[in-house]
Symmetry: C2
Subunit: 213 residues, 2 copies
């Protein structure tokens, strides 16, 4: 094992990222099982041999994709939590916009598409991990921000954000995913940024007023 040069490592790293990006695209569009590794290779401008040079198996490639892009998404989310000196209400807005804003969550919502698709039972380990760490973690973050807001007096003391947070998060996820089909199915199209803002405000309003039973 001779130590290789920095140039090699860098080129290898670039190629690796190209493969991850191509795989995300192809897996999201064609589905994990349906997608051929040759498709991924084509999309990345290489051959199947290159893929097997970096990943042991098709499943390993999938896991690589998900872990890479999920780490990116949660990185952004945690940035919002650490943003200094802003009230809980603003922090909620920031968090949701960082996660669901149109330039995020893996290029153009592809990660969501991938996760919400058949990956589930095809690769059980991956499935459990993302179900546990994805949506659940997101509304746990929201829940803690709601508590923060109650202490600061922004929200009424008896506000219960759980139901709202759950429906909001899952609704935004699905809408985000469907925007990729808005071209073929015009009924699905919306101004997603407006939808994001409006629904977040709706959520916040429900924490302030006395509405809801």
């Amino acid at each position: 094992m001779r130590p290789s040069r920095a140039l090699r490592l860098e080129r290898s790293d670039t190629r690796m990222h190209a493969l991850l990006e191509a795989a995300l695209e192809v897996f999201a569009l064609r589905g994990y099982r349906t997608a051929r590794l040759d498709d991924v290779a084509d999309a990345a401008g290489v051959t199947k041999g290159a893929i097997y040079h970096y990943f042991d198996t098709k499943e390993a490639l999938l896991i690589g994709v998900i872990e890479h892009y999920q780490a990116l998404a949660f990185g952004r989310a945690e940035d919002a939590l650490r943003e200094p000196g802003i009230p809980a209400t603003a922090r909620i807005r920031l968090l949701l916009r960082k996660v669901f804003g149109h330039s995020d969550i893996g290029s153009r919502g592809r990660l969501l598409t991938l996760l919400l698709r058949g990956v589930a039972h095809e690769v059980p380990r991956v499935h459990e991990r993302w179900l546990r760490e994805g949506p659940a973690r997101l509304w746990a973050m929201l829940a803690s921000l709601v508590e923060e807001g109650k202490k600061s007096g922004e929200f009424r003391p008896d506000a219960d954000g759980e139901v709202g947070a759950r429906v909001l998060v899952s609704g935004l996820m699905l809408q985000r995913m469907w925007q990729q089909h808005a071209g073929e199915v015009p009924e699905l199209a919306v101004d997603y940024d407006r939808l994001l803002d409006s629904s977040v405000e709706l959520f916040i309003a429900s924490l302030r007023g006395t509405g809801g039973g």
Copy 2:
């Protein structure tokens, strides 16, 4: 082609339904591509030969499943729209409870699981049809009920239900689907009936008050 007896037809019909049910179960749990027709046959207590006696191809079986259960679901939804002499608010509650109530949408939410999974690009025709007729049609129904409520004075005249309806419907769909994984992933578990009621009330409240920008 000799006219066959009623008994034969009835038995054949029963078997057909058993196949549809087994296919829904297996496709939803294992995914369309991943599922083997032998699995479906096993689940129905028959062999692959029986399947090919009723359906020309695997895709035809999938289409059969979706059309059958989707027709059931929309039948219930339209019942709610036709229910005579009740105010729009109650009609909204009824509609959503009929569609998302725990005994509906194909046995135990399996249809949703099937639809939200990889079926998408694996069978493009099916995909487009359900995207067009499923969620979109649902929030179109809601939108018309909102208009009804505005005329009757139940909701404020400038209320805009579109964003709320979209997020509500897609949120409920995803939460419903995830309840099937609540056993393995406790973070996902909720009292779904309570979540349904609460979020519906939240939606209605947003149409009444002066909240939201």
